[in-house]
Amino acid sequence: MGKKIKSVEDLNAIRDGARKGLDLRVSAREMQVTVHMGTCGIAAGAREVLLAIASELGEEGSSKVLLRQAGCAGLCDREPMITVVDKSGVEYRYGKLDGAKAREIVREHILGGRPVAALLIR
């Protein structure tokens, strides 16, 4: 359980701390890719999505991207989901993925810089 938030200052301090951590992690690499691996994600195929992304990135791509796992993002019916945060901090959420779609996102967006509009969650 985190510290109780009692004022706007407390909230700002938490925001700044989180942003600092994020900056550190993102600035060292170009992009951050999070695969949501809650129970819902795993049941829907998140493992295959994660392994597809890792293999499509390969050793070289992996050094430019921070690939991580997180829990449920709250949209269980859209799983498997990934969140991509690009260099400028813009967040993209992709849903209802499978291995082939995940590979397409790696080629087009993560390595190519062009978001795949058809797979984005709206």
Binding site: T39, R47, A54, S55, Q69
Partner: protein, 181 residues
């Protein structure tokens, strides 16, 4: 969940969320006793509630959530196959989750791709001390990620190569065990 390897992945995610740095996974089959057992133990924060509360689908430790389905689904899979799920304290210091099933039960979930489960963790969290123990009667095989990591040496830039090697070791181990699917 389609198979037991996905339940195991879900349990490992729970361990990671509980702050574990050591996670020990065990899969054993004992045809003589018609028993299959899977267990995941860790050195994380541990479970503060008894099994019947932990496996209640409306119990969760996550803030802002009202359901926690992982353990309840595994309990259901175990009971469906004539077994049970128990939770408790691990010798590692954290939680221990053990699911038993009748090996020959028609409704027992298949093991599935355990190598994919372990490698999916290794490729994003190569620093975790993951131990995977396979048992079939007297045959035993242990794959430790930290051993493979040491063998690979400092030239390793990310977890991908390590994940591939660990997956191979687990596949070899399972092939050598003579497990029934």
């Amino acid at each position: 969940m389609r198979d037991l390897s996905l339940h195991i992945l879900d349990l490992i995610e729970n361990s990671i969320r509980a702050g574990a740095s050591i996670i020990s996974i065990s899969v054993s089959q004992d045809p003589a006793r018609d028993l299959m057992e899977i267990s995941v133990e860790d050195n994380g924060r541990g479970l503060s509630v008894p099994t019947d509360v932990a496996t209640d689908p409306f119990y969760t430790t996550k803030e802002g959530k009202r359901v926690g389905l992982g353990l309840s689904l595994l309990r259901e899979a175990a009971e469906r196959a004539g077994g049970k799920l128990t939770t408790g304290k691990s010798e590692l210091g954290g939680a221990a989750v053990v699911a038993t099933m009748r090996l020959s039960h028609l409704d027992r979930s298949p093991l599935g791709d355990l190598a994919a489960t372990i490698s999916s963790i290794v490729c994003t969290r190569p620093e975790l001390d993951l131990r995977c123990r396979l048992l079939n009667g007297k045959r035993e095989r242990v794959v430790r990620v930290s051993d493979e990591s040491r063998r690979l040496g400092a030239g390793e830039r990310c977890g991908l190569t390590l994940a591939r090697i660990v997956a191979e070791r687990i596949r070899e181990g399972i092939a050598g065990m003579g497990f029934v699917e």
